[in-house]
Amino acid sequence: MARDSDLDVAYVARLARLNLTKAETELFQKQLGDVLKYVEKLRELNVSGVEAAAHGVPIFNVFREDAPRDWFTAEEALSNAPRQTDGLFIVPKVVE
């Protein structure tokens, strides 16, 4: 397992599309360093041959009929949009 010094908060924040102030970056670097030091204890355990548990109750392959049903109208789907026009969500320009 990696040491806490591997965490580069500024880099991870870019991956998470989350701007942080310089003060936040420094604070999180320290606080999450402590948390990562704490979780180091998981290294004490031998987990070879143990299957990873995705969740507590094993259920797999849940299917239902692929049947059409009534759901949102376009208007309802757009009802919470901060910016919209002509039935579309507006985003900043992404292609030149």
Partner: protein, 492 residues
């Protein structure tokens, strides 16, 4: 019975009054509204109220339904169509839920009336409700203390007589811990027992919806309404739902209760330990057999929990991008700037911290070391419980290692706050059910603060832990005590 006496009642008591037509659903709502006006200024349990809509529902309420005419408060992370669903975050300011969560449909089908949304730690991330991006909620027992969290608003409302019962959510203890800190009952059902459709996701492999109530019987009544399979939630279990209220009245003879030795260790407040020891003796005197058991991987649960919960949160919260709903930043220079600033301005510090940690443990080069290893240790924790449940019908522990703490006492060090989940988060990792019921008081600075007893049960064995909790509650006086702020009005 006068209007001012109504808010003190539990759901079971209300039902008989409603059915005997001694009080109407509208009068009930009116009494609740008056009480909220007086008390909630100080407690701050509610984020929004919609009595206009509730009144309309009350007018046509069928009081002969299981929860007919009973108003229920809803944690503000569960969607009620047309109402705000802020998740106590600035990023959802102005948002209105366009559809109902399955539990809301089920509550209404049982006759209940959702009338208000309660405060929480932002996106349910926290153990004190101090991470709410909107307001502070105070503990009704001592206003300078936190109500616990993340379902702190729901717990404080029930404990201050401003709700007869409430829904909360529990990802690592968020129903049980605030129930313990406010002296009420809180049940986290088995993973998959209650549909999460319409619940804003925090950690999808851990989240469950459950009731917070004044009595164990009331929790059983709400469970009767909300439990069951839902085709719209692929993780919900297609298993029969027993009548939890009918199952309550069995005595404890022959019941085996496991006492995990790892749960009575250092770090527990001495007054909590004394109360739990006394509760164990009492359960024994009621006929339960106490067996010593071991959950050897207990000390790893908090570490596993904070890796998995933050990893899942970082993925779930990617949807808050300022495009389809919620807060959006002004004048971004491009799309990346739009995302980065929308999320910077919309999320509070704890949510940001968890997104960073979760993104890191999932990132290339670290996934195996953190996320995958944590999932494997999760399996070991799950196996611990499976083995122990061969010897015991249910397990006993404190719900929280400490009673309610002061505002600000644990906020500076996130790790210290995370460790308050030490007795609760294993149940979420293992997918089992758990309940907290009051078992005593701690005296701190001449104030009484409630202590919670936790009972953990086998998967889908809610009926059993409700039965044990009920037997304990009915043979003790703790549930009759009420928070000072409510007591003054009860005796007014």
């Amino acid at each position: 019975m006068t209007a001012k006496d109504l808010p003190a009642l539990g759901i079971a008591e209300l039902q008989s009054l409603l059915r005997q037509r001694e009080v109407s659903p509208r009068e009930l709502l009116e009494a609740l509204r008056d009480r909220i006006e007086i008390v909630d200024r100080e407690v701050g349990a509610y984020l929004s109220l919609d009595f206009e809509a509730a009144d309309k529902e009350a007018e046509k309420a069928n009081v002969d339904l299981p929860l007919g005419g009973v108003p229920i408060a809803i944690k503000d992370i569960i969607s009620v169509a047309g109402q705000p669903c802020t998740c106590a975050s600035k990023i959802l300011r102005g948002y209105r839920a366009p559809y109902n969560a399955t539990v809301i449909g089920k509550l209404r089908a049982a006759g209940a009336i959702p009338f208000g949304k309660t405060n929480l730690d932002e996106f349910a991330m926290g153990s004190s409700t101090e991470n709410s991006g909107i307001k502070l909620t105070r503990n009704p027992w001592e206003l300078s203390c936190v109500p616990g969290g993340s379902s702190g608003g729901s717990a404080a409302a029930v404990a201050s007589d401003t709700a007869f019962g409430a829904l909360g959510t529990d990802t690592g203890g968020s129903i049980r811990q605030p129930a313990a800190l406010t002296g009420i009952v809180g049940l986290k059902p088995t993973y998959g027992r209650v549909s999460r459709f319409g619940l804003v996701a925090f950690a999808s492999s851990l989240d469950q919806i459950g009731p917070l109530t004044k009595t164990v019987r009331d929790a059983a009544l709400i469970m009767n309404a909300i439990a069951g399979h839902d085709p719209q939630d692929s993780t919900s279990l297609d298993e029969p739902v027993p009548d939890y209220a009918v199952a309550l009245d069995h005595d404890l003879r022959g019941v085996k209760l496991g006492l995990p030795k790892e749960y009575m260790v250092e770090g527990i407040d001495p007054q909590v330990k004394t109360a739990i020891d006394a509760a164990v003796k009492h359960l024994n005197s009621l006929g339960a057999e106490i067996v010593d058991v071991s959950l050897p991987h207990t000390e790893y649960a908090t570490a596993v929990y904070y890796i998995l919960a933050t990893a899942e949160a970082s993925a779930n919260l990617a949807r808050f991008d300022g495009v389809r709903y919620g807060y959006r930043t002004e004048n971004p220079k491009d799309l990346l700037d739009h995302y980065g600033r929308t999320r910077e301005e919309g999320f509070g510090p704890e949510v940001k911290r968890r997104i960073i940690l979760g993104t890191y443990v999932l990132s290339s080069g670290y996934y195996d070391a953190y996320y995958l290893r944590a999932q494997k240790v999760r399996e070991l924790i799950r196996q611990d419980f499976s083995k122990v449940f061969e010897k015991a019908d249910a397990l006993i522990s404190p719900t929280s290692p400490v009673p309610a703490f002061k505002f600000g006492e644990r906020t500076a060090d996130p790790l210290q706050m995370y460790l308050t989940d030490i007795f609760t988060c294993s149940a979420n990792l293992a997918g089992i059910c758990g309940i907290s019921v009051q078992c005593g008081f701690a005296e701190i600075d001449e104030k009484r603060l409630p202590i919670g007893l936790q009972l953990l049960g086998k998967p889908l064995d809610e009926a059993r832990i409700l039965q044990i909790a009920h037997a304990f509650e009915q043979s003790t006086e703790w549930h009759k005590a009420c928070a000072p702020i409510a007591a003054t009005l009860r005796n007014a």
